[in-house]
């Protein structure tokens, strides 16, 4: 029992979390030109292939063309990908191969602050990458509502959620290849089944419930799409509430799991 309470102990943090964030930002800025390219090209390919290509064979969904339907989902997907991969592969490299965390905790910065800084940076990556995709679909005229301006702040919350999830996996992964499991068993199903490429309502009722409860991306897609299309419903409050409750819990869990791994 005490083991379980230890996993949810609330960490003490200070402004030093931003020193870790700044370290990652500095590295990112050194190579920002190459960083932008993949996050730009991938969604554009999906829009071309699925939007124009496949979309020609698909009936309008709730009055939207298929390409308009999937465009905001691609923004949400980029939030998930950028933050999840930042706090799995990239954090693991810093922790395990570069021993950057060890170097930092020899200074007045604590391990809790290192992990928090990493998660804040993951959320920042979500904000940066999804904003690029958002700019593309806005420029392509696929976003009818000015409410899209609220998507960047949402992308930071979604980024925090997926960074915290990722950090939990990082804390328990014996080696870098182990990330194949969450990638294929968690991230890829979410990419396909979270209301991204077809409405959730096309699935049987019980699957819809399961999807909404266990696949976090469902919430991100619902909120992003509603803001892009300007179709606000009360159910969005549930989506936001889900993320606002689960994020801090996983955030605290990830810090304590990481502490367990690194402080010996």
């Amino acid at each position: 029992m005490s083991n379980i309470t230890a996993l949810f102990r609330i960490p003490k943090l200070s402004y030093r979390v931003w020193k870790v964030w700044t370290r990652n930002k500095d590295v990112f800025m050194k190579t920002y030109k190459t960083n932008f390219l993949p996050s730009l090209i991938e969604p554009v390919l999906y829009l071309l292939a699925l939007g124009f290509g496949l979309g020609g064979f698909v009936q309008p969904i709730n009055g939207q063309s298929y390409i308009q339907f999937i465009a905001p989902a691609l923004v949400a997907v980029s939030m998930m990908y950028s933050s999840f991969y930042e706090c799995t592969y990239a954090s693991f490299v810093r922790m395990y191969f570069q021993k950057t965390f060890d170097a930092i905790i020899a200074t007045p910065v604590t391990i809790e602050e290192v992990i928090t800084g990493e998660i804040l940076w993951g959320a920042t990556k979500s904000l940066i990458n999804s904003s690029i995709v958002l700019a593309v679909i806005v420029a392509a005229g696929l976003v009818p509502s000015p409410l899209f301006l609220l998507i960047p702040p949402v992308s930071f919350l979604v980024g925090l959620l997926f960074s915290a999830i990722a950090m939990c996996f990082t804390a328990i992964s014996p080696n870098i290849d182990a990330f194949n499991y969450p990638s294929f068993l968690f991230i890829t199903p979410m990419f396909l089944l979270s209301g991204t490429f077809f409405p959730l309502t096309s699935m049987p009722q019980f699957l819809q419930v399961i999807t909404q409860l266990v696949l976090p991306l469902t919430n991100a897609v619902a909120v992003t799409r509603a803001l892009a299309l300007g179709s606000l419903q009360l159910s969005l409050l549930l989506n936001l509430a889900w993320m606002l409750i689960v994020t801090p819990v996983l955030f605290i869990l990830s810090i304590n799991l990481m502490k367990k791994r690194l402080i010996k």
């Binding site: 020193k19 500095d26 007045p108």
Partner: protein, 308 residues
């Protein structure tokens, strides 16, 4: 004399367990301000574990450990401000250049940027790395990396410098350069705590040492006293043969006589010159008198069997 000196680090029954393994077994010691203190021992003796507890990154299982009067369990943040750490593992940041490594590190200590830059330039000069200031880490040699790690450990003007195996794996030139740098820091009254399994390094750099094995202290004192006490000032080495052995045993009935590979080593604890006289009288094949050293002490105390 020691009584008047200020105690900077004090360990009482310091204990660390990893599961069933007792890595550090109720160890007590005191380190004085301004001295150079060495931990020696084979792999797995518990040296690095003690270093990590002093740095207050590894929690104690038992006992008490204070630095400058501060308990590592309670004031780890304050303690980390006081110390500079050169770890055994190379954890320089490969995403940055030499100069950036120092500046980014200084930021973790809240050192203002201008001050950090000046300090970094000063330390690069001190460590003879000025020409490498804009080089990426992966392009540095092993010796340069070590010097940069040492420079990084000095960015916050530490009162206590922790060096975990500072020259392991370096070539002789690089080792001597690091030693020179450590000595000039000692002149500036920085307290140095180091671990090593090079006995010559300990003899060169340390005022006092502790020899550890299996998590326990097996001997402590100044290197010279320890050599004198444990193995005497001189060692006689003779090529092994049955006759030589018999003859040596007759000549030195009280001495410790070891056989190492094809050599007989005689630790006679006699004043200088006595061994030479014996050699004049009896002729041995391959006979040699040399000064005994810490390595002799170490092998006597820790035995010759392999660890790891």
């Amino acid at each position: 004399m020691h009584l008047e000196r200020e105690i900077l680090v004090k360990a009482e029954n310091l204990t660390k367990k990893f599961g069933d393994l007792v890595a550090v077994d109720s160890v007590s010691f005191e380190i004085f301000k301004g001295e150079s203190f060495g931990f020696l021992g084979p792999n797995g003796a518990g040296k690095t574990t003690i270093m990590r507890m002093i740095q207050s990154v590894s929690p104690l299982t038992g006992g008490k450990l204070t630095l400058a009067g501060m308990d590592v369990r309670e004031q780890s943040r304050e303690i980390k401000c006081l110390i500079g750490v050169a770890p055994q593992d190379d954890n320089l940041d490969p995403d940055f250049t030499v100069l950036q490594n120092l500046i980014v590190y200084a930021r973790y200590f809240d050192i203002p940027k201008e001050k950090a830059k000046a300090k970094a330039e000063e330390l690069l000069k001190f460590m003879q790395l000025e020409e490498k200031r804009d080089t990426i880490i992966n392009a540095l040699s092993g010796g340069m990396r070590r010097r940069l790690i040492l420079a990084r450990a000095l960015m916050n003007d530490p009162k206590i410098l922790i060096l975990d195996e500072p020259t392991t794996g370096l070539d002789p030139q690089a080792r001597h350069l690091i030693w020179t740098k450590i000595r000039s820091l000692q002149k500036q009254e920085v307290t140095v705590i180091l671990t090593t399994h090079y006995m010559d390094e300990a003899a060169q750099l340390c005022d006092r040492i502790i020899i550890m094995d299996h998590g326990r202290i097996i001997e402590k004192g100044s290197p010279a006293d320890m050599v004198k006490k444990q193995v005497g000032e001189e060692v006689l080495e003779v090529l092994y043969s049955e006759e030589a052995m018999t003859c040596l045993k007759q000549n030195f009935p009280d001495a410790r006589i070891d056989v190492v590979a094809d050599k007989i080593q005689v630790f006679a604890h006699k004043p200088r010159g006595v061994l030479a006289k014996v050699l004049e009288e009896a002729s041995f094949k391959g006979a040699l008198i040399r000064d005994s050293n810490l390595e002799d002490v170490f092998l006597k105390l820790a035995g010759r069997s392999l660890r790891d």
